[in-house]
């Protein structure tokens, strides 16, 4: 072995070049060949490279790549989808902003008319309590609101 350090040999690069150029073993310089016989690291390198190059040739000959056109079209479709998603992002942000504005406006209205609303709610609750329907009415209102919201979000996503 001609050690450069414990896991590399100073002649491994030269050997690699010789192998890559197809000079191994017949056109390889005699001294390099003699070195490989004595250097365990270089011997390993040649042994593995020989087998893997052969395996590469076999695997490449057995590969059956499909038509490039299909991949081209798939890539175009993916690009288009990505572009549409990019375009849609500001719209989603605008929708969120509009929703926030509406909520704020509703909150403002409630605050502004708090007293009259509480009076009306009290009278309504009194009336409903008289009929025993207050919990049911409240439940229906909540379910309706949430249902509308869910339907809107589903349709919007589609």
């Amino acid at each position: 072995m001609n050690p450069m350090n414990w896991h590399a040999c100073s002649r491994s690069e030269e050997l690699r070049q010789t192998f890559a150029q197809g000079h191994w073993p017949d056109a390889c310089p005699a001294d390099l060949r003699a070195h490989v016989e004595q250097c365990a690291l270089c011997a390993n390198e040649i042994l593995i490279a020989t087998h893997l190059q052969r395996a590469r040739g076999e695997a490449m000959s057995s590969a059956q790549p499909g038509a490039s056109n299909l991949l081209w079209l798939r890539a175009q479709a993916r690009r288009r989808n990505a572009a549409l998603e990019r375009i849609g992002r500001p719209l989603v942000a605008a929708q969120a902003f509009a929703f926030a504005v509406i909520l704020a406006a509703m909150a403002g209205l409630v605050v502004a008319h708090w007293h009259s609303l509480t009076d009306r709610a009290l009278s309504l609750t009194t009336a409903l309590a008289g009929w025993g329907l207050a919990p049911i009415a409240l439940g229906i209102a909540i379910v309706t609101t949430l249902g509308c919201l869910a339907a809107y979000l589903t349709l919007e996503r589609q």
Partner: protein, 164 residues
């Protein structure tokens, strides 16, 4: 890259890429899927620059990332914990001698070792290029390759293989 240039690039690169994916994963069907996905991502990501060499390195980098993602999926064991003969289903397309000597040896290596050995000795990439493709440090590539080579050579010699 326009359609014609891509077709030419595909013609030259598809087989080496498939060979890499099939041998590193040990699964030809998976290699088919990953090869297609690699080319689609290559196209959607845009050209990495001019030149066949740069493009091919970029393609192999994408493929290496896909392999790594596949190995890291929750349903799979982490890369380093994979059993040595995992994902080493027999490659029915392989032929002749390599079946008898190389395939059993490769099957007993860890997936990452197979990957590094293939990139270094079948594709002739440098340590730096392999580091760029795999996301490992150059020093790590050097050390992992040394260990993988030593183990691979030992396995091949068990089968009676020699250099000269």
């Amino acid at each position: 890259m326009d359609r014609d240039r891509f077709a030419a690039f595909y013609e030259r690169s598809a087989r080496p890429l498939w060979a890499y994916l099939a041998r590193a994963s040990g699964d030809p069907a998976l290699a088919d899927d990953l090869m297609q996905e690699s080319f689609v991502r290559f196209l959607t990501a845009g050209s990495p620059g001019d030149g066949e060499v740069v493009s091919r390195k970029y393609l192999f980098r994408i493929a290496s990332n896909l392999l790594r993602d596949y190995w890291r999926k929750p349903r799979n064991l982490p890369l380093d914990d994979l059993p040595e003969n995992c994902s080493a289903a027999p490659d029915t397309s392989a032929q002749t001698d390599s079946r008898l000597t190389l395939d059993p040896a490769l099957a007993r290596l860890r997936p990452r070792d197979r990957q590094l050995l293939w990139l270094a000795h079948a594709e002739n990439y440098s340590h730096r290029e392999i580091a760029e493709m795999t996301g490992l440090a150059v020093a790590s590539v050097r050390l992992l390759l040394f260990r993988a080579r030593r183990r691979m050579a030992h396995l091949l010699r068990e089968k009676g293989e020699s250099v000269l």
